[in-house]
């Protein structure tokens, strides 16, 4: 990595910025599923918040405490001496979130609702529609994951870019430092930190959000009772589903920030055409050599 940091003298000598070879990096399956997920997760998120709004409280355990307290997150509105306000309570800590959570404006009207209209599909309270759209895209999401998994197993994307090898673990601290200092290496395969991030998404977050979603289904509870056991109750599963959603939103924010910082044209091109401009010194062949 360090030998690729540009030496001012080198830059002065060469009129053009040195370029590495343009390589075919992302297979059609990786690219297609990437954009299918982008669309599916957009709808899953916004309809998920709609579904959450039907009962904007999360609990730990099998049931929801109405006569006892097992809530961990509660969004609501209350009357105060200054009029109604929106509140969010997390682990007993109460925050005034008027304007966004609990109480917000939609087209000039004040709404007493968990997440605001701009963050839900449809914008008004409509659980039935939220569910129809959510479950449609849940199928799309899972189908894309199945296609991606089989293709990535066969074209070695999984082994090359997602599975962390001992060498990746060893190089991880340095790669984290490279990312913190915005020194990005563009190689044939992903860098250790990229592998760790995508491994977390594919091996942990995606399975978790699918399984906790299924755990909320009373029919699946009868068929696969172990689902409820591994998550410690239906309401805990609902809470984990929500937490994983927050983690995936955080992943999305970092993911887009990294694309912008690492060169958005090159990164977007690789996810549309498959071709990626690598760093100087990268082997031009497609062999699994330049392991960051």
């Amino acid at each position: 990595m360090t030998d690729q940091v540009m030496d001012p003298a080198t830059v002065a000598e060469k009129p053009a910025k040195p370029k590495g070879p343009l390589i075919y990096r992302q297979s059609i399956f990786t690219r297609l599923t990437h954009w299918i997920w982008a669309i599916a997760m957009f709808f899953l998120l916004l309809t998920g918040l709609q579904i959450y709004n039907a009962h904007p409280t999360l609990y730990i355990g099998e049931q929801s405490g109405f006569e006892f307290d097992n809530a961990v997150l509660r969004i609501g509105a209350e009357n105060t001496p200054e009029g109604p306000r929106g509140f969010t309570t997390i682990f007993g800590q109460k925050f005034d979130t008027t304007g966004v959570l609990g109480m917000s404006e939609l087209r000039g009207n004040t709404n007493f609702i968990g997440f605001p209209g701009w963050a839900t599909i449809p914008s008004v309270r409509d659980l039935a529609t939220g569910r129809v759209v959510h479950f449609f895209f849940a199928w799309v999401f899972v189908a894309a994951l199945a296609v991606w998994f089989v293709a990535s197993l066969l074209n070695r994307h999984l082994w090359r870019d997602i599975i962390l090898k001992p060498r990746d673990i060893r190089d991880l601290p340095r790669d984290i430092w490279d990312h913190i200092t915005f020194r990005f290496k563009h190689g044939r395969s992903y860098t250790p930190l990229q592998k760790a991030a995508y491994f977390g998404v594919f091996a942990i977050l995606f399975p978790l959000i699918i399984l906790t979603g299924l755990t909320m289904s009373p029919a699946m509870n009868a068929g696969w009772p172990w689902l409820v056991d591994i998550f410690g109750g239906r309401q805990t599963a609902r809470t984990i589903h929500f937490v994983v959603m927050v983690l995936l939103v955080l992943f999305f924010v970092v993911h887009v920030a990294m694309v912008v910082l690492a060169g958005p044209i090159n990164e977007l091109r690789s996810m549309i055409t498959g071709y990626y401009r690598t760093s100087p010194g990268t082997e031009p062949d497609n062999k699994d050599k330049s392991n960051g």
């Binding site: 099998e62 914008s123 039935a128 529609t129 479950f135 909320m216 009373p218 696969w224 239906r234």
Partner: protein, 265 residues
């Protein structure tokens, strides 16, 4: 090559613009999805049929919903939906006043011998008691103990005809009224759920008589489905081969209002 690069740039631009507009568009851009019978919504709703088929394939017809111990009943059963039909249904008020002496549960439609049961007759039949978790479509859950007659017993006595495909549950409680015509609550299930061993016509809740707020005198429990498939104030169970001519044709009150028919997730 130059053309290729131009095309790629164009493609990149289009992709970025598409992704950007998707994210930046106010979400009311998708409010059309709320329209019943919009072709896009009709298409998305087909996923509900896939979910039904998949769950029927994955979950055994006889697989039981989990039953809990007495210690897990930590609160009363939360009433939801209609909690007192006496406010707008005179016939129901009279039933409550006479302690359901004139109540009859009817098994009708595609059966060999239509049947009628008084509440006392139901209470004197062999009963089943189960402590189960009630899952509302809104997202909350509540554990309670339900006691009642297995519906399969009543259906066997009436002898369901082979052409019957669904059981329709007709209820006393009414929704709407005022400007729009009031409609009675109803829902339906397939015969797998109707004959399921845990499907009971419950008349007892947590060791006492089923209260009005929870559906007295009889609430049908379909334990592997969401709360809107647990009809309250049931007076008639009608066996049918389809439900397209009833209500708005979707098989239930909430189903007619955009909720999925199966209600298993």
């Amino acid at each position: 090559m130059a053309e290729l690069i131009y095309n790629r740039r164009r493609l990149l631009g289009l992709g970025a613009a598409g992704a950007g507009s998707l994210l930046l568009a106010g979400c009311d851009s998708f409010d059309f999805l709320a329209q019943r019978n919009h072709p896009v919504r009709d298409f998305l709703e087909r996923a509900n049929g896939l979910t039904y088929a998949a769950q029927r394939a994955l979950v055994g017809d006889q697989a039981l919903a989990r039953e809990f111990s007495e210690s897990e009943i930590r609160q009363g059963q939360r009433p939801n939906g209609t909690t007192d039909p006496r406010t707008n249904v005179a016939e129901y008020s009279q039933l409550v006043e006479t302690n359901f002496a004139n109540y009859r549960l009817r098994i009708t439609g595609l059966v060999e011998t239509p049947k009628e049961y008084t509440l006392t007759e139901l209470q004197n039949m062999p009963s089943r008691t189960q402590i189960t978790r009630h899952d509302c479509v809104e997202g909350w859950s509540c554990i309670a103990k339900w006691t009642g007659v297995p519906l399969s017993r009543l259906l066997d006595e009436a002898k369901v005809k082979p052409q019957a495909k669904f059981a329709l549950y007709h209820c006393y409680d009414q929704y709407g009224g005022g400007l729009s015509a009031a409609v009675n609550y109803y829902t339906s299930s397939d015969l797998i759920d109707a004959f399921h061993p845990q499907t009971i016509c419950s008349y007892g809740l947590n060791g006492a008589a089923l209260p009005v707020a929870n559906g007295a005198p009889v609430r049908v429990r379909i334990e592997r489905a969401l709360g809107y498939k647990q009809p309250k104030y049931v007076h008639t169970i009608e066996l049918v081969d389809g439900f397209s001519t009833i209500g708005r044709g979707q098989g239930g009150y909430w189903e007619d209002n955009g909720y999925d028919w199966y209600g298993g997730i």
